[in-house]
Every structure is written in structure tokens, then in C-alpha cells.
């Protein structure tokens, strides 16, 4: 009975919603909308390179943004302030982990309940380099291919995690991570302030954007992505380190 009542109630609500929306002039039929009524003509006429031509990969120069990757151009250029907030969220979570799990004084890493054999240790050291290199590649090509600072940083941190899990003697230098993290985070804000000083607003792309598709293009986007990659990589590595260490009482 209860289920039947819930079913009837849901159907009724759905029907009510559909009919009330159909009668509403703010919700026109599909395809029946004039975009010019809703978006400013400035944005409708605008294109990324000033005139209304197409953007050709490898040929178009001095586009407004210069990234060959649409997501990057939104995440690190038009909504870079939002990304700064995301980086701050990650920083706060890493700070929380450090506050809850960090220990003052002597530390030792958690012991594994098995002894990694020779092959695992040596092989994972060989893999470490390849994973690290892939992470750096993903970060450096963030404005050209899918990827960028966050996935690349996570890859770098995963290579550190691999060493932690495959080698029971391994221990990172956490202090270096903390310095790197703070420097990268501060430099991000400084790049933003430079945009405010040299151009008009915070985090504006103030460098020449170059040819779409070149490695050195898109103005400040690669710089910002390298900073984000360093920050994310060192932050997640720091979190991993905090999870895998404990105070040394002896």
C-alpha cells in the first residue's frame, strides 16, 4: 500500500511538473529558441582570434587563448580563478591529513607485512622512471592534449606510491615536498598578480599565445599547468607519506 501510494505520488508529481513547464513561456519547445534573446551580441559575434574565421591546428597564430585543448582553455584560462580554488581545496585536505596523521619528532614508515622480493624492488624502480616521465609529459602537454596538471600530478604521486608499496626501506623526503608545494602555490598566485599588473585582470593570459599546437604556445597556460602539476604531485605524495608513516617511539 505504501509503495503504491509512493508510486502514484511520483507519477502525479512528474505529470504536474511536465504540464506546469509546458504552460510556462519561459520554457519554450525544443528548437524554438532564439539565442540572440538570451546571450549578449558581443559573445555571439566574438571568436577566439578576433575575426570570424576557423581555428586551424598548427597554423592559426595569436588566438585569444592559444590552447589546442578546449577543456584546458576553459579550466586554466577563462576560469583559472576557479582552478586556484580547486588547488586550495586540495591544499586544505592535505593540511587536514597532516594535522590528523602527522607526527612531531622521529618518524618511521609503516612496516609491510611481507618482504618484497628482489624482482619487485628492482622492477618497480625501473617503472618509477617511466611513470614519472609520463606524468611530466602529461603536464607539459596539458595545453595540447587531454590531461594537464591534475592528472599529471596524480601520476607523479602514483609513482611515489609504487616505490612505497614495492620497497620496504623507501622513504621520501617530505620537507622537499612541502617546500615545492608552497613555492608552486605561491608562484601560481604571483602569475595571477602579474596578469593583474601587466594586463587588466587577475590571472589574465598576458604572454603572446603563439601558434595553436606548438609546445611553446598559449601564453601562461603551460606555466600555470607546470605549477599546478608540481603542487598536486607534491601534495598527494605528502598525503601518501602521511598515511604510510607513524611516530617512532623507540
Amino acid at each position: 500500500m505504501k509503495k503504491l501510494f509512493a508510486f502514484v505520488l511520483t507519477i502525479g508529481l512528474g505529470v504536474l511538473m511536465i504540464f506546469s513547464l509546458r504552460a510556462n513561456t519561459l520554457f519554450p519547445e525544443f528548437g524554438d529558441v532564439s539565442i540572440a534573446d538570451r546571450i549578449s551580441a558581443l559573445f555571439l559575434d566574438k571568436s577566439v582570434n578576433g575575426d570570424n574565421g576557423d581555428v586551424v591546428f598548427g597554423q592559426t597564430t595569436d588566438a585569444e587563448d592559444g590552447a589546442a585543448n578546449l577543456v584546458t582553455s576553459i579550466v586554466v584560462d577563462y576560469r583559472s580563478f576557479d582552478t586556484l580554488g580547486e588547488v586550495t581545496v586540495l591544499f586544505i585536505s592535505s593540511l587536514g591529513v597532516a594535522l590528523l596523521l602527522g607526527v612531531a619528532g622521529k618518524q618511521k614508515r609503516l612496516a609491510l607485512n611481507f618482504k618484497p622480493n628482489f624482482m619487485l624492488r628492482v622492477g618497480s624502480r625501473a617503472l618509477f622512471g617511466i611513470i614519472l616521465m609520463t606524468g611530466v609529459y602529461v603536464i607539459l602537454h596539458g595545453h595540447l592534449t587531454p590531461g594537464g596538471g591534475f592528472p599529471g600530478g596524480a601520476m607523479i604521486a602514483s609513482s611515489i606510491l609504487l616505490l612505497y608499496l614495492a620497497d620496504d626501506e623507501f622513504r621520501t623526503k617530505v620537507k622537499g615536498f612541502k617546500v615545492l608545494e608552497s613555492v608552486a602555490g605561491s608562484l601560481y598566485v604571483i602569475v595571477g598578480l602579474l596578469g593583474l599588473v601587466l594586463a587588466t585582470y587577475f590571472l589574465q593570459n598576458f604572454l603572446p599565445t603563439g601558434t595553436v599546437g606548438d609546445l611553446f604556445s598559449a601564453g601562461v597556460l603551460p606555466i600555470v599547468y607546470v605549477l599546478i602539476g608540481l603542487k598536486v604531485g607534491s601534495e598527494i605524495s605528502g598525503i601518501i607519506d602521511h598515511f604510510l608513516t607513524e611516530g617512532d617511539l623507540a
Binding site: F114, K115, M119, G123, S124, A126, L127, I130
Partner: protein, 106 residues
Amino acid sequence: MTIASYVFLIIGGLFFLLGGLGVLRMPDTFNRIQAGTKATTLGAFSTLIGVGLGNLDWAFKIVLIIVFIVISNPIGSSAIAKATYKSKQIPDNLVQDELANRGDAK
């Protein structure tokens, strides 16, 4: 070149299919590792070589990926096998257990 690339892609797909089938059908973990890694290694190599022949610009990256698989696949499967052995998930019909006679097996 295109035909060779397609042939390699088809061989790779076939080996992936056999590997997946083996993982589903084999009775215990050791046999599944056997099916999974052996077939996947050859399948991945064939697929990657097919992709590399299809677009020669990617050949260098393909070689790097193959090197990665060459190193990671045996290490991963050996680690899984060791973990399976240590968690006592040994099948009853095991014929020979050389690890039990060694000092580090526990």
C-alpha cells in the same frame, strides 16, 4: 602497411578475447594469472604494433608503451601470485610446491 596494421590489430583483439575468456573460465588464481598475463601481453603488443604501423608518427611512443608493459606485466603478475600464495589461496590439486621448501616462504 595498412593491411599489416589491420592484421596485427585483429590478432591483438583475438588474444584479448582469449585472455578475457581465460580469466572468466579458469578455476583458480594461478591459472587466471596465466591466462590473463600471457594473452594480454601478446594481445597488447599486437594491438600496439598494429596502431604503430597504422600511424608511423606514433612509433616512438608505441615502443615506450611496449617497454612499460614488458617490465610491468611480469612484475605485477608475480606479485599477485606471491600474494595469492601467502594468503593460502592454494588449490588442492597443486602438484609441486617448490616455494614451500625455501626459507622465505611463510
